[in-house]
């Protein structure tokens, strides 16, 4: 029916070299004359040869297995865009690079969460690990994993691990600052901030940026009320009263992510408030939901899928020793305030 796919030996035969030379060319190895290299590439081209990743990893002794650890409990939490998008980006990059990822949800706060992560990577012989918040700030865990000989890339690290280990993310502090500046520009002076889970340092940097913007205008904690949620839509609806009924009566509410902002929005509707006339609301992430709720949410765009993809690419670059600085690199992607209809001048 369909003829067999060409193997490395077919390429070798066609280009008149040994199999091992083809392998060297394919893997970008040194010590191959340009003329030979070109001849081999030519043969690869005409045969439409593709390496067999299975054979390669068997022979190479590399598992080509990565792990991606999330902290949320998939049973309780509805699947968040943030995590799905990260996962999807990673999965796609892996497909492209011939790697596999093991997705694992290990609720944090549990006493044996370190052990579970370590066990995962040793028992499955993972070569690399991607850590999402708040694990991306867990220096002890990262060092333990590194000690096992497993490379690590952190997603959105916000604390000491940022810069100390490889990572990808946006400038959360600047994001929080930028969106708050916008609200300030619109005349707001009494603020609420709906923060995320304790220990999610990158999300807390949004709060830091928020405070810096306020401070620039001579405002401080007396002029704002800060409440913590858990990033879910539900926590937004639950916590809304704490923000809305506060004696300060904030006119603008900055949320650490879109789902919570959507939750507050929903609660505001439920009590008959007009948004944005009665209250301006902003989110963070620019998840699809931000464009879909009514009114569409002003938010800070963050390229989450790309983050997941880049994390895998960095990890693989580390594993293959590709052109990468020896010191840790932090790849910072662009964020942008997206003004929609939940914000207005006062």
């Amino acid at each position: 029916m369909t003829s067999k796919r060409p193997t490395i030996d077919d390429v070798a035969r066609l280009s008149g070299v040994a199999r091992v030379t083809v392998s060297r060319v394919l893997n970008g190895g040194p010590n191959v004359r340009d003329e030979v290299r070109a001849r081999v590439m030519q043969a690869v081209e005409t045969l439409d040869y593709k390496v067999n990743p299975q054979a390669r990893s068997l022979a190479g002794g590399a598992s080509r297995l990565l792990a991606f650890v999330f902290a949320s409990d998939p049973e309780n939490d509805p699947n968040s865009y943030y995590e799905s998008a990260l996962e999807l980006g990673a999965l796609r990059a892996c497909l492209a690079l011939g790697y596999q990822v093991l997705i694992q949800n290990v609720p944090d706060q549990t006493p044996d969460c370190h052990k579970r992560v370590l066990e995962l990577i040793t028992s499955q012989r993972c070569e690399g690990l991607i850590l999402s918040p708040p694990y991306s700030d867990d220096v002890a865990l990262i060092e333990a994993v590194l000690a096992q000989g497993c490379k690590v890339v952190t997603v959105s690290p916000g604390g000491p691990s940022k810069g100390r280990f490889d990572g990808v993310g946006v400038d959360d502090e600047a994001g929080g600052y930028d969106v708050t500046r916008e609200l300030l520009r619109l005349g707001h002076r009494r603020f609420g901030f709906l923060a995320g889970l304790e220990g999610h340092l990158s999300a807390d940097r949004r709060l830091k940026g928020f405070r810096r913007a306020l401070a620039e205008q001579g405002l401080d904690d007396k002029d704002c009320v800060v409440v913590r949620g858990d990033f879910t839509f539900r926590s937004g609806t639950h916590l809304a009263p704490r923000l809305l009924d506060h004696p300060l009566r904030p006119t603008a509410l900055v949320c650490a992510n879109d789902d919570m902002a959507a939750g507050v929005l929903s609660a505001a509707h439920a009590r008959g408030l007009s948004i944005p006339q009665d209250l301006s609301i902003t989110g963070f992430d620019d998840a699809p939901v931000a464009a879909i709720v009514w009114p569409p949410l002003t938010t800070v765009h963050q390229p989450v899928k790309v983050l997941g993809q880049r994390a895998v690419e960095m990890l693989v670059a580390r594993l293959t020793g590709a052109n990468l600085a020896p010191e840790p690199v932090f790849q910072q992607l662009e964020h942008a305030v997206v003004s929609r209809l939940t914000t207005t001048a006062i």
Copy 2:
């Protein structure tokens, strides 16, 4: 550092049999005495042995590669929950089963879309193909793929391919019927239906169910206005005027999916309508967005992630010749009307 993982030979040695016997046990092969089988399993247990999938597929000559084809253009369409969830479910099942999936977006309507799909599976040597709508109803394509020796599972087939090939899905006709019955029960008599793209037969079955429910009450096409969108939020906002300004002035609007329903909802808000007082709206899918918009959307729940997962499981069962009927099987999952706040009595 970490000791090497046990191989099949370690298991063979420990249980005192030949490597090939261990292989037989592992693969559930016949002709192994129970006593030997137990001994091998015991050894597997104590060594915590896990087969090396790379080696297995190399030796077995199976690529363990699946393909999942979507019709949407990822550049134009915002990523829909339906497709992401399908993809995620499939990806997870693949991880669990040791398979890989190639995700491909091949816009339909293009003249060479059949050729592109065929080329994908032959060049990558895929063993199985999952087709989402509308490809799941493209009998010619399915037969061409099957002729290549590649197994196929269809997701939500709605036309002749349902029952003729393996497939997974819900009873869309019943879903459309159920949600319409609910609206009828609430007293509605003038309806709008926002249908999906032409050729998406399973989505059209929702329309069929809608019509059946109307007919039962002696209503027909004179009592409803039907408009076609493309399943996106934007098409919902764009098409809203066609529904809302229709001379019939429908009091209830049934949409073929949640994104379009959310779009109509958004447009309704934009023109100052009160939902559900001025208009009842229902969706289909029960995507996360349904719970998040205001008011939360009454919709028909469909387990999309599970659909993706089951599709892979069926495909793999077919490939491994697991206990599966020789004739095509259609795995029908449960749907359920979820009443939220966009519907009210009239």
